[in-house]
């Protein structure tokens, strides 16, 4: 009962997977280093310091940045409030048993996804007031409605998908306990959909934050300036180093969007650790 000794059939000699992985990593780091060196060497640093990293220009706009920052946040938040409310209504319309609601919601989504946000802002600034004889009480209201309506079209799809992703058994369990469809929606479906849509909704807020820069077409008074409008204003009003303004507002935008992502991750962890499978 001696077992025959088994050996691998001969084959082409090659690197072990471990060595291959190490080799591949070295190559990847090498490429990165070459790119960084090329960019650093190719940059005209003295010119950059004057035009783009100009401390004098920073000082000139420093007093204006805070209110522009607050304005950008305010425009984003109010547009998002409109988008969320309207988006949820549209999502529920899309899931409605009434065919007309579904058609209207689909038409809305197709329209507002299909036209540039800039056109919608222009329409709200110049066409809607004439057409409906309304006067928006503030820039905030105008931009919130314009961007909110565009964003609602995207959110509607996201929210609909989230609501539909909640298992049918959840609805059946709630209904079999005697809960109405409205109670089931509010207490069972929406809370569970919320967590699923958190990442795409955050994404939408980030996009909205950047889209508030479209407000420039409205012809603003200085106190209503958002970050981007302020940067353009600074560019035109300092002798040298105006481009620095864009670096400053770029950082300001990141100060809004990065904490937002952190908040999402925290919310996901908080709602996710408990109970979700």
């Amino acid at each position: 009962m001696t077992s025959p000794s088994v050996t691998m059939p001969p084959g082409r000699a090659r690197m072990s997977p471990r060595k291959r992985a190490r080799y591949s990593r070295v190559v990847q780091y090498g490429v990165l280093v070459v790119i960084v060196v090329a960019v650093v060497m190719g940059t005209d640093w003295s010119n950059m310091r004057e035009q783009v990293f100009n401390l004098e220009a920073v000082q000139k706009m420093a007093s204006d940045v805070p209110y522009a920052f607050v304005n950008t946040v305010k425009y984003t938040a109010s547009a998002f409030a409109v988008a969320l409310a309207l988006g949820l209504v549209l999502a529920l319309m899309k899931l409605s048993s009434v065919r007309l609601y579904r058609i209207v919601a689909t038409g809305y989504v197709e329209f507002f996804r299909g036209v540039p946000a800039l056109l919608v802002v222009l329409a709200f600034a110049y066409i809607v007031p004439v057409a409906f004889q309304v006067r928006f009480s503030s820039v905030t209201v105008t931009i919130a409605l314009a961007l909110g309506m565009v964003s609602a079209a995207y959110l509607a799809e996201t929210l609909r998908a989230g609501l539909q992703a909640v298992p049918k058994g959840q609805v059946e369990a709630a209904r079999s306990l005697g809960m109405t469809s409205g109670q089931t929606m509010r207490s069972v479906v929406i809370p569970q959909a919320f967590r699923m849509v958190l990442p795409p909704v955050t994404n939408e807020i980030v996009l909205l934050t950047k889209d508030t820069s479209l407000i420039y077409v409205m012809g603003l008074a200085v106190p209503d300036y958002d970050l981007t409008r302020l940067a353009r204003y600074t560019l035109n009003n300092v002798a040298v180093g105006g481009l620095t303004a864009f670096v400053v507002v770029g950082i300001a935008y990141l100060m809004i969007t990065i904490p937002l992502s952190a908040l999402t991750r925290w919310l996901e962890r908080k709602t996710g650790s408990k109970g979700h499978v």
């Binding site: 298992p167 058994g169 959840q170 059946e172 369990a173 709630a174 209904r175 079999s176 306990l177 005697g178 809960m179 109405t180 109670q183 207490s187 069972v188 809370p191 569970q192 967590r195 709602t271 408990k274 109970g275 979700h276 499978v277």
Partner: protein, 251 residues
């Protein structure tokens, strides 16, 4: 003697396919009816027509004296008195065990927080999970989740309980706990309709066993009759498969 559930000439089709082909069944107060039959025979559909999770296409169903097949029935009110336990538990994953048991009490029965909690804790105690009130469903085993689902349904003080294969999704060693909770419930006088493949349970607990095949009731009677000594060939074939799954039978 008034029936808790009265089903007559019940038909249900999904599109072209007729799944229930004229079912007549009455369940009396305190009676435990076990429904058995091959997969796809319409057992779940029958159960779901009782609380209108499925809309019957023909016939009449009345529950607690209310005609649920009447288009204008207040079905939410009827459902309040009819507990349902699903194969997949369907606990609310975003709520604790206690909240699962209080939600509908608060929202539907409009009970106050302390009363709802008291009722919930009493029912959790009854299913042996008083100490898990603050857990989330995902932290429990399947058997524990199903017992919470039973406690959740009981917290509405139902007059009738529907069970749709409550142990089919469970690991074998967890089945016993759930069945013993159901046995206690039957002994306490609850009216129950139980779809199950647990023949030992049906034999012991059921007052009546109903064998369904292909959308019809083929045979019904006492457990000793239907399971112990069936009169119909189809029942015998089915039981042989269930009781000795590895044995080969020619169809």
């Amino acid at each position: 003697m008034s029936a808790v559930v009265e089903i007559s000439g019940l038909r249900k089709s999904f599109g072209e396919r007729e799944v229930l082909k004229g079912i007549d069944l009455a369940v009396a107060q305190g009676e435990v009816v076990c429904v058995i039959g091959p997969s796809g025979s319409g057992k779940s559909t029958l159960l779901r027509c009782v609380n209108l999770l499925e809309q019957p296409t023909g016939g009449a169903v009345s529950v607690l004296g209310v005609e649920v097949t009447d288009p204008d029935v207040d079905i939410d009110r009827v459902r309040t008195h009819v507990g349902m336990v699903f194969q997949q538990f369907n606990l609310f994953p975003h709520r604790t065990v206690l909240e699962n048991c209080t939600m509908a009490q608060r929202k539907v029965l409009r009970r106050g927080a302390s009363e709802a909690e008291e009722v919930a804790r009493r029912n959790l105690e009854q299913v042996g999970l008083a100490d898990r009130a603050d857990s989330h469903p995902a932290q429990l085993s399947g058997g524990q989740q199903q017992r919470v689902a039973i406690a959740r349904a009981l917290s509405m003080d139902p007059a009738l309980m529907l069970f749709d294969e409550p142990t089919s999704a469970l690991d074998p060693e967890l089945v016993g706990d759930v069945l013993s909770v159901m046995r206690d419930l039957a002994e306490a006088g609850m009216t129950m309709i139980v779809v199950t493949h647990e023949m030992a349970f049906a034999r012991e607990v059921a007052d009546r066993v109903v064998f369904m095949d292909d959308g019809q009731i083929v045979e019904q009677g006492s457990p000793d009759h239907v399971i112990g000594n069936p009169g119909e060939e189809r029942t015998r074939t089915f039981l042989a498969r269930v009781l000795d799954p590895t044995h080969h039978h020619d169809a």
